[in-house]
Symmetry: C2
DNA sequence: CACTGATACATGCAAATGCATCTAGTTTGA
DNA sequence: TCAAACTAGATGCATTTGCATGTATCAGTG
């Protein structure tokens, strides 16, 4: 180890406590959000897929791209998409440049439902987050979590 | 609405983007962590219960207290504890002051396993978090997420 | 071009999850 | 004091999840 005695272990401890706190805050917020009326018609994870598609400029995403954003196994996502497709909220298309791939796109109904739930969802989020942190603190939290995410994603 | 036009809506947007970033970073980190070899012997959620018990000064927690920390329904936690109990990692006891309640405590084997997985888990966390954020940034992230959690938990 | 290995997604099946409900213990209030 | 309302946790059952594997396509090598 480098540095004075105890330095390495306290760095490890700080990282662990930081993650623990991030994780618990996520649990606390998510618990409140998913119990709200916005998700009576559609589970949060299914909404999340609709949301991700709605944010995408091209309007289409590969399943494996979506899988990076969501905490679900590949097979679970495949079946989640089955359910969305059965409800007419999304459409599967074979990727033009890769015969193995599947492109997913929102249908009109899917887009409507996403917007409808999204409006309420966003209000719920603000109700939880705005009283907890100042705007500056929110911006800092946004910056730090984005930095963490980018670093972790890039191995 | 108060303030100049647009203020309220941009406050809502900031809160939503902050939450989104927090959530995605949690997904990215958790995905890496749970795919590591530390969780071959025990799923993350089950480890989390052992960990929570290990942190508790009295060594015992009520099921409903544990349920606040974990993103699981009451019934799922009940059965998760069944599995831990079947493996001899925890013990259920009727709460002395409330006949409805159940106190959960680690067994010796449970404590051993938690420590063993915990050591590796903590190293994995540090490997992800330390290269991503400076110590000061980690402390700030810890502070902000703890503030958020506390605010949300207190309604 | 055939062949080997890798990638993207689907599917069979066992396990985990959540909703609704049940049981039992506790608190409330008339 | 006692019935009604409430709370903690367990359980039946249908849905969701993940692991292992299957199928189809792609990429690289001789």
């Amino acid at each position: 180890m480098s540095g004075p005695a105890g330095t390495a272990s306290s760095a490890v401890r700080l990282a662990a406590e930081t993650w623990e706190s991030l994780f618990r805050s996520q649990v606390a917020v998510m618990r409140k959000l998913q119990s709200g009326p916005a998700f009576k018609t559609l589970p949060v994870k299914e909404y999340d897929v609709l949301f991700t598609l709605s944010r995408c400029p091209s309007g289409q995403l590969r399943l494996n791209e979506i899988n990076d954003k969501v905490l679900l196994s590949q097979s679970s996502l495949s079946r989640l998409v089955d359910r969305l497709e059965k409800r007419g909220l999304v459409e599967r298309t074979t990727a033009p440049d890769d015969g193995r791939g599947v492109l997913l796109a929102l249908t009109e109904a899917g887009s409507e439902l996403q917007k409808s739930i999204g409006r309420e969802h966003v209000r719920d989020i603000a109700t939880l987050v705005a009283p907890a942190l100042t705007a500056d603190e929110q911006r800092e939290l946004l910056r730090l979590t984005e930095k963490l995410r980018a670093s972790v994603a890039g191995h």
